[in-house]
């Protein structure tokens, strides 16, 4: 598990990265900084928002909205899965509803949330909620359906109460599905909420990217894209991978 950075940055990837950077630099010379700012300009811009602290302001604003929208989606997903576990009828209804939600475009929710909530924080929050709910819930429902009936029968033989069976059998076997759903859901939340931030709010990564475009600071668009990528990779590594490793310690 504990491998050095040297081993993780395998040479072929590094080679391709160098090649792409060279190509990027060449293209930026050819087409100019407005169309494609040079890598150096992007690095300079990144250092600048680090120094000014702007990076924290907008990242925090985005993460705050995601935390509420995505957090609510996880909570609602758990309730939905619970209903699906307790009743067969609920399971079928949930299945059908999730299919519909999964088929609905991000843009539908953005437009609707602007109509409903106006140009406020609630537009990105609501959009994030509606988009991540089906991902988290369908993972959880699948987990609940995959609870080993033979283990539940064993619990019945030894007369475990409903609550004991739930705590000892259902929750541990569903947890990996929850973590997997949250991992995918969070990635989606980050991608979706910044799109919703284009409209109507005055902070957040999506807002600042769109603003940078308007003032013709193309290098800052690239800088904030970089920030998004870093946030995504960091949460993947530090939160979700660590969680699933902890869960799998009995394997």
């Amino acid at each position: 598990m504990r491998r050095g950075w040297a081993a993780r940055l395998h040479l072929p990837t590094l080679g391709v990265a160098v090649l792409l950077l060279a190509l990027w630099t060449a293209l930026s010379w050819r087409y100019g900084a407005y169309v494609l700012p040079s890598p150096l300009a992007v690095v300079a811009g990144f250092l600048e928002i680090l120094r000014s602290g702007e990076i924290w302001r907008h990242t925090a604003a985005s993460l705050y909205r995601i935390a509420i929208g995505f957090g609510a989606a996880v909570g609602a997903g758990i309730l939905v899965a619970l209903a699906a576990f307790l009743s067969r009828a609920a399971r079928e209804v949930v299945h059908d509803l999730l299919t519909v939600l999964n088929a609905t475009s991000v843009f539908v929710w953005i437009v609707i949330s602007i109509i409903w909530f106006g140009l406020s924080n609630w537009a990105p929050i609501f959009t994030t909620f509606m988009i991540t709910l089906p991902v988290v819930a369908s993972n959880l429902v699948e987990g609940v359906e995959n609870v080993d009936r033979r283990l539940l029968e064993m619990g019945g033989v030894y007369r475990l109460s409903g609550r004991q069976k739930f705590a000892a059998i259902v929750v541990p076997s569903t947890l990996p599905y929850l973590i997997a759903g949250m991992k995918v859901g969070f990635g989606l939340a980050l991608k979706v909420s910044v799109v919703a931030e284009i409209f109507g709010v005055t902070s957040g990564i999506g807002y600042i990217m769109n603003y940078s475009r308007e003032i013709l600071a193309t290098q800052m668009v690239f800088v904030w894209a970089l920030v998004m990528i870093l946030v995504m990779m960091a949460t993947d590594r530090l939160v979700f991978d660590a969680l699933s490793r902890r869960l799998a310690r009995w394997r």
Binding site: R150, L151, G156, V157, R159, R251
Partner: protein, 249 residues
């Protein structure tokens, strides 16, 4: 303790068990034998209250066993698979089934340790099931069944997944545990050698729809080899009869 099975029958579209009656006295070790598909496991599940009978009934010390209804008496079951919770250590797996009995945490722990010890797992209490062999997992499942101090212990081909060598070791172990604990055991197997080497009473079921073909006291009077031969002949006759009857339905 007395288990009474009276005229039990079961239909799954076709009749699987026709009519079976027998009794098991306290401390007996009864083996249920029969050709594949004759309903041995179904009969065991009916006795354990895991499945309703179509006809007839089962009582344990006069208390009727009805599927889905809680029982005053305690029944432990060892299934074909170990059915341990993979996310709990062997000790926690055993301690879990002591919860409904109202034991405190420390007591549960002590009882779990004791029965894991009896099953030959001393020193492995804190292992997760995935970290021990299949034989050891089945030992833990036996420890779990014993830990509730059951009035009746049901075992459904518990060594079916083990290799021949481990199988023989586990047969000896179960025989030893039976002698040490004095439990009443109903044991399903398709292996005649296994039944003859561990059971005190052997019940041979006929081909589907099954009845009792033969009930044999295995008290060491009859020579084991002769008994095995005799039972092999019987089971061959039953298998032929079943195949002669053509496909079911």
């Amino acid at each position: 303790m007395k288990l009474v099975v009276t005229d039990v029958g079961k239909d799954f579209l076709i009749p699987v068990i026709d009519r079976v009656s027998f009794t098991v006295d306290a401390g007996e070790f009864v083996c249920l034998l029969g050709p594949n598909g004759c309903g041995k496991t179904t009969l065991l599940r009916i006795v354990g209250g895991l499945e309703p009978a179509t006809r007839g009934g089962v009582t344990l010390d006069g208390e009727p066993i009805v599927a889905g209804r809680p029982l005053q008496h305690k029944i432990g079951v060892v299934f074909q698979e170990d059915r341990l919770l993979p996310w709990m250590t062997l000790r926690d797996n055993v301690a879990l089934v002591l919860r409904p009995l109202g034991l405190g945490a420390r007591e549960r722990d002590a009882v779990a340790r004791r029965y894991l010890g009896i099953a030959g797992l001393a020193g492995f209490e804190d292992y997760y099931p995935a970290r021990v062999s299949g034989g050891m997992r089945q030992r833990a499942a036996i420890a779990r069944a014993l830990a509730i101090e059951p009035d009746l212990l049901l075992m459904d081909e518990p060594f079916g997944a083990l290799d021949a060598q481990n199988r023989r070791i586990m047969q000896r172990e179960v025989r030893r545990i039976w002698r040490e604990t004095g439990r009443t055991i109903l044991f399903v197997t398709h292996s005649i050698e296994e039944a003859v080497s561990i059971g005190t009473t052997l019940i041979m079921l006929s081909a589907r729809p099954s009845r009792i073909r033969e009930l044999i006291r295995n008290d060491g009077q009859a020579e084991a080899a002769k008994l095995v031969d005799q039972l092999n002949t019987m089971i061959m006759e039953e298998v032929e009869r079943q195949q002669g009857a053509g496909p079911p339905g």
